[in-house]
Amino acid sequence: MISDQLPIIQIVILLVASPLCVIFRNGNWAWAIATLSTWTVLGIVSFLTFNIIQEGPISYHLGGWRPPFGIEYSLDSLNIYIILLIVFIASIILPYSKGIIKKEIEHNRRHLFYSIFLLALLGLIGIAATGDLFNVYVFLEISSLATYVLIGLGRKRQSLKAAYRYLIQGTIGATFILIGIGFLYSMTGTLNMSDLSTRLQPIIDTRPVIAGISIITVGILIKLALFPLHLWLPAAYTHAPTVVSAFLAAVSTKVGAYLLLRFIYSIIGPSLTFDSIPLLEILLSLASLAILVGAIIAIFQNDIRRLLAFSSISQIGYLVVGISIPTVTGLTGGIVHIANHGITKGAMFMTIGCIAYSVGETKLKNLKGLAKRMPFTSAALLIGGLSLIGVPGTAGFIGKWYIVQAALDYGLWPVAIIVLLGSLLAIIYVGKILESIYFSKGEIVFGRVEKLSFYQIIPVWLLIIATIYFGIHTDLTLGISIEASNTLVGGQ
């Protein structure tokens, strides 16, 4: 049956479409291929999601080889949720990219852009789908290499520097993960995640295992850009083409968060080593620092994209706080916030892409009085900003609410205070954007405003409406998140 093969088909489609984009050598054709294949994958993933909600997890054996000998793709409520988020965002960003990259990428390179975009997308889906630790590394490198190139495609020369920096740091991170995999493999002789977690239990306190766990965690944290390993992120988000910033901000670091969840709770979780290494305490303190430091640095930025990049660092802090509270509420908060923040940040970066397209500016001081010229785009930025702060009725509120609740239940009231403080700081940095586009008086600096096409307006508003929708109707996101966290911490 073909429907049994769907877990691999979702990746193979993109793998085939990517070289097709290069063969056609035409930006418009490549765009059509990329969009169609991504939409097909969205259909497949929705079908799989429906199946998994109805019938429980799917385990797909690559080439018919039984795990733990063969490679297994295991899809449960957690990874299908992440994959759905990735593909949903990608299938909205692709139509949006049609008009916007005209100004950002040279005509004769557009088909290459789509080809590489599909590779990055398939790498991210692969990381989430696979149940094999070495496969994670391979997919991680596929998506990372594609991401370096995508960042380097930016119009300004700083984008090359940002891509180079990310290449060095990202490769160190991925190599750390590889070393850790080597340590765990040498102790257990298996790479399959569920097999690994059973075999680790009796030997979890040995030194190579602890070293392996620590090294992998550091590697994942570099990919996740948790403070203080975030140094690659601001430059990459600021100088990449806006389509790429939106995609990266929405999904790339979220896959890192997924990897952390999977690693801590599915692989080493059952044996709960939290006594022998203070893993969760370390994560919690770094995440709390990330919330505050990211938000404070964001306040002092003059470029709207750089400001949002630092806001992302702060929001990654929230994710990790949620992940490192090992209760159902805490994990639910973290997992819900993965999607909700992804949608919000994606929407905001896409809006900024529209602004950059229309007026050619992203410096705050040059955007004075934008609200009068572009009322709808400014409103989109306003709604996204409210969600970043975590105003009730927007998506950003749900995750923070659960995280604060979990922190209080777990007796971590300083963390709850830090989360609230982070929201206050968010009011300041979002306020800074709104002040300059809505309230500042003075001469309007930018010149002609170019009209946006429907290719740009509809995707942006789809995501903005999703931001509000997931803030009010939480059944879908919360339902899957609660189920996922139940499977991870097993009803503690």
């Binding site: 180079y164 290449l167 590889l178 070393i179």
Partner: protein
């Protein structure tokens, strides 16, 4: 004797440290990439050492041999070598592009050039 028995591990660790130190201490883009390459190579050595069993033969089913070396780490490393070559290629391509647009390959000078334009 202890060190000699674990010579490969020590070699892997030294290579990794040399590589990481080169990445951190050198300012030139190409030199950083050389460091990165060394660092990755050290991991290959680590994996290959894991797969070796002293006295083990190739994994052939035969009555004459009892022990054999695990071939899986070697296969994994083949993939990792391909990945590292791809990384190096992208890194070198980026260095060439940076040298072309900035006119220099030194990290500090790149910083200065951008700071003079007021864009960090």
């Amino acid at each position: 004797m202890d060190i000699l028995e674990q010579l490969n591990y020590w070699a892997a660790i030294s290579l990794a440290m040399v590589g990481l130190f080169t990445i951190m201490s050198r300012g030139h883009l190409i030199k950083k990439l050389i460091g990165l390459s060394l660092f990755q190579t050290s991991v290959f050595l680590l994996f290959i050492t894991i797969g070796k069993l002293s006295g083990g033969t190739a994994p052939i089913i035969s009555k004459d041999f009892l022990y054999y070396s695990n071939p899986l780490p070697h296969v994994l490393i083949l993939t990792a070598i391909v990945v590292s070559i791809a990384t190096l290629a992208v890194g070198l391509a980026l260095s060439v592009a940076i040298k072309r647009t900035y006119g220099t390959g030194e990290d500090d000078e790149l910083e200065d050039l951008d700071r003079n334009e007021g864009e960090p």
